[in-house]
């Protein structure tokens, strides 16, 4: 299970490449969302491996924050969306 934890973390590091060279901002945001989900999975695995149950609460918080980050991105119109004046 520790191997699965390390594997998922390696996948997250690979996902950072897409953050680095995503052609537009939506790709970067999608990579950030993948990193959020993978971070949740890694936290859940870490909680079972180390026997610390509080990491599940941390995973819940990370899920909430990743969602807020993406919603903030869309509301800001980060992909040059000029057609939503009510979001300003």
């Amino acid at each position: 299970m520790t191997a699965a934890l390390g594997f998922i973390l390696a996948m997250l590091a690979l996902g950072l490449i897409r953050v680095l060279r995503g052609p537009d901002d939506a790709d970067r945001m999608m990579a950030a969302q993948l990193i959020g989900t993978g971070g949740i999975a890694a936290l859940l695995l870490l909680g079972v491996v180390t026997g610390v149950p509080a990491t599940v609460d941390v995973a819940l918080t990370v899920a909430l924050l990743a969602t807020f980050a993406s919603i903030a991105f869309v509301k800001k119109g980060g992909v040059n969306a000029p057609e939503s004046p009510e979001s300003r």
Binding site: F7, L14, P23, A26, M30, T37, L45, V56, V74, G78
Partner: protein, 114 residues
């Protein structure tokens, strides 16, 4: 019985890690924003679902198991909503012409899709 539960855990967590691999490779290799979103949602929903399913026998208590399932349900709901929002924003910016050109160019310099 404990051995069987351990086997369930190892199988499901390995399958979840495989889905994370597939999602990351898809995110890196697919040529288009929307196809990348398709790969990403697979990793999000199925990968995390399998990891949670594999961790359920190790949860210890009923309350801990419920909390794991709650994490997964929150990620499912949030992932569905956010995917819709991002796809809509990407489509809206692609319709303006300039972003569509940039995705075509990105598909060109990444080689043929697998």
């Amino acid at each position: 019985m404990s051995l069987a539960l351990d086997i369930v855990t190892i199988t499901a967590v390995s399958a979840g890690a495989f889905f994370f691999l597939a999602g990351t490779v898809g995110l890196l290799r697919f040529p288009d924003t929307l196809t990348r979103l398709h790969a990403l949602t697979k990793a999000d929903n199925v990968g995390l679902g399998l990891v949670v399913l594999g961790l359920l026998p190790q949860a210890g208590s009923l309350r801990g198991g419920f909390k794991l399932i709650c994490v997964w349900l929150l990620v499912l709901a949030a992932g569905a909503t956010v995917s819709q929002l991002i796809a809509r924003a990407a489509l809206a910016s692609g319709a303006s012409g300039q972003q569509g050109h940039s995705t075509v160019r990105a598909a060109g310099d990444e080689g043929p899709p697998t």
